[in-house]
Amino acid sequence: MPVREGIYGLLAEFDTPTELVMAAKASYGAGYRRMDCYTPYPVEEAAEAMGFDEPKEKGVSRVCLLGGILGGLAMFTLESWVSIWAYPLNIAGRGKFSWVAFIIPAYEWTILWAGLCAGFGMLALNRLPAPYHPLFNAPNFRNGATSDKFFLCLEADDPRFSVTDTRSLLESLHPVSVIEVEH
């Protein structure tokens, strides 16, 4: 990834989730789109306020469904191939294609791959792992975002972003502080 320089965005800190949601709504209303909220626990209203609707995105669910279908099919196919062609065993004259018995490992693999895809798919869609992020440069971010503070970041990529106007918008929303975050 090329080294980026300059300002990443303006970061406003809030004490309560309600203030954060109001600020996110106001910024969204003012036309900002490149923004994100940072909270120590899931706050659905914050995601809604900035127009992010996970159920509509369906990314994680789709990956999970696909993983489940492929996992189940893979195991069932393997079992059938092994039992019919690769290594047929005749025990007490039972049929080679005894699909009822094959359901159980196939069922387990459906769950296995659906679960792995849900977990790792979520990480991939979130672009994690990402050990470095510009926000970690902000002095107050790491002290609060994972324990008891609520943050709103308006990013410099947004076409409406301007260091002065954006700062005055954020300051009108009663934050604890507004700081510039460098890349």
Binding site: T18, T39, I104, L116, D148
Partner: protein, 474 residues
């Protein structure tokens, strides 16, 4: 609800419902974070921790000795023989994996049912699942005698012998059920821990701590978009773990039910095994939670409400187990099969009958008569004792199922008896040491109570709708 034993002055009682609180009043985001991170990040490890870890570690050493000797000599050092070819190994396997099931029940099924009280106990219940699965999985593997040679008939992989496993065997189903269960439990546990690892990274003072927790947190920063996908993934994993946990013990019961041994060949086995698993698992949750909350002063977060609820779940699943025992006997009678009938009689009054009566006392007679009392369910000492008794009883349940059926089957000429050797006992007790040692490491190195989930149930976590409407307009 009996309200006579509740004092209105007690701050732990919610005045609105008259129930014990899930979390003590007065906690804030910061106080919870401080309290839970300090347990791990403190440079001063409590002396009791060293003592406990050393004790558990020495017991785990015994397992190492027993397994080394086993690999040198073969499974002949165990008490297994004909007709009891399945001895302690399968009993311990079923017992341990059953214990693990309560962790998944708490983390997955109670999440789907939106039982918020589970939040503070779910992390360590899941850890309990993992470590129990580690102990359980060891038994079938070492029972093969030379596990490094067992791989080709346990796992389907292309090998030079052109050999493939037999997929119609319940023992193969076990391989897939248990390996899937272990994998999904690890993923669920780790994904659940990522936000808390972020907290640990940000609170750690030492450079080493910041680095390790930073790597493990994968760069979690609490973005609202991330949280929404994270919540979806958690729900999906919970939805997948629920049928999984039920299937695992069902498949294990198939190991028995598919065989034609009297006393094994019944359709009641799957539900009765699953209920028994949850019964013993909740008992183990209590066995672990009671000393931990005392030692680390976590009474604010693991309250009497949690212990009370665990008692209630045990009461319910205990009755399903009791129903299973009755069905077993009713089946023997109704089948008009003299071998089944003899098996039931032999189980209760035969030479191994003492084990049946231990099981009746410790799974039914004692817990199911006393767990009704709310006063007792909120008595920590009683709960600890009952949890130990139930775990003993559930071990004997598996002993009864395995041993009494095998010692006396169809042909009296092939009857025998079973006597475990010292290596059997050393292996079994050794896994308890391993389990406890792993648990000690877990509570010392990782946050045992999920902070991000505790924050959600704090009073400050709710969005103030009125304020939002009012100020949102201007």
């Amino acid at each position: 609800m009996a309200t006579k034993d509740i004092s209105p002055q007690n701050p732990m009682i919610d005045p609105e419902t008259g129930e014990q609180r899930v979390i003590a009043p007065g906690h804030t985001f910061r106080s919870v974070t401080e309290k839970l991170t300090r347990i791990v990040l403190t440079p001063h490890t409590p002396l009791g921790w060293f003592f406990g870890f050393a004790l558990a570690g020495s017991i785990a050493m015994m397992l190492l000795v027993a397994v080394t000797w086993l690999f040198l000599k073969g499974t002949g050092i165990w008490g297994i023989t004909m007709p009891v070819a399945w001895g302690f190994a399968i009993i311990n396997f079923v017992w341990w994996i059953g214990i693990g099931h309560a962790g998944t029940l708490i983390s997955a099924i109670l999440l789907l049912f939106k039982q918020k009280w589970r939040n503070s106990i779910n992390r360590f219940a899941e850890a309990m699942t993992l470590f129990a699965v580690v102990c359980a999985a060891m038994f079938p593997v070492i029972h093969t005698g030379r596990p490094w040679l067992a791989i080709y008939w346990l796992f389907p992989y292309p090998n030079t012998m052109n050999y493939w496993p037999q997929f119609r065997s319940p023992l193969m189903w076990d391989v897939f059920a248990v390996s899937t269960y272990a994998t999904i439990s690890v993923v669920f546990w780790y994904i659940g821990m990522i936000p808390d690892l972020g907290t640990m990274r940000d609170r750690a003072k030492s450079k080493f701590g910041r680095f390790i927790y930073g790597q493990m947190a994968l760069g979690w920063r609490g973005s609202a978009r991330h949280w929404m996908r994270y919540e979806t993934a958690s729900l999906l994993l919970a939805g997948l773990a629920t049928p999984l946990v039920l299937s695992v013990h069902t498949v294990i019961s198939f190991d028995f039910a598919v065989a034609i041994m009297p006393g094994w060949h019944t359709t009641i086995f799957p539900p009765y095994f699953v209920a028994g698993a949850i019964y013993s698992g909740f008992a183990m949750v209590l066995t672990l939670a009671i000393p931990i909350r005392k030692f680390y002063h976590l009474e604010d977060l693991i309250t009497l409400r949690h212990l009370d609820n665990c008692g209630k779940v045990m009461l319910a699943t205990g009755f399903i187990v009791a129903y299973g025992y009755m069905t077993d006997i009713a089946y023997a009678w109704y089948s008009a099969d003299k071998w089944e009938f003899f098996m039931a009689w032999n189980r209760i009054f035969g030479p191994m009958g003492w084990s049946y009566w231990i099981l009746i006392f410790s799974n039914i007679a004692f817990p199911l008569t006393t767990l009704w009392s709310r006063r007792l369910r909120q008595n920590v000492v009683y709960l600890f004792i009952v949890s130990l008794i139930v775990n003993t009883g559930m071990w004997f349940e598996r002993f009864v199922i395995v041993v009494t059926s095998l010692t006396r089957d169809y042909l009296p000429s092939s009857w025998g008896t079973y006597r475990a050797t010292r290596w059997d006992y050393m292996t079994f007790v050794g896994t308890m040491g391993l389990f406890t040692a792993l648990f000690f490491l877990f509570i010392r190195l990782l946050p045992m109570i999920p902070m991000s989930e505790i924050r959600q149930i704090l009073p400050g976590a709710k969005i103030n709708e009125a304020e939002l409407q009012h100020k949102g307009g201007d």
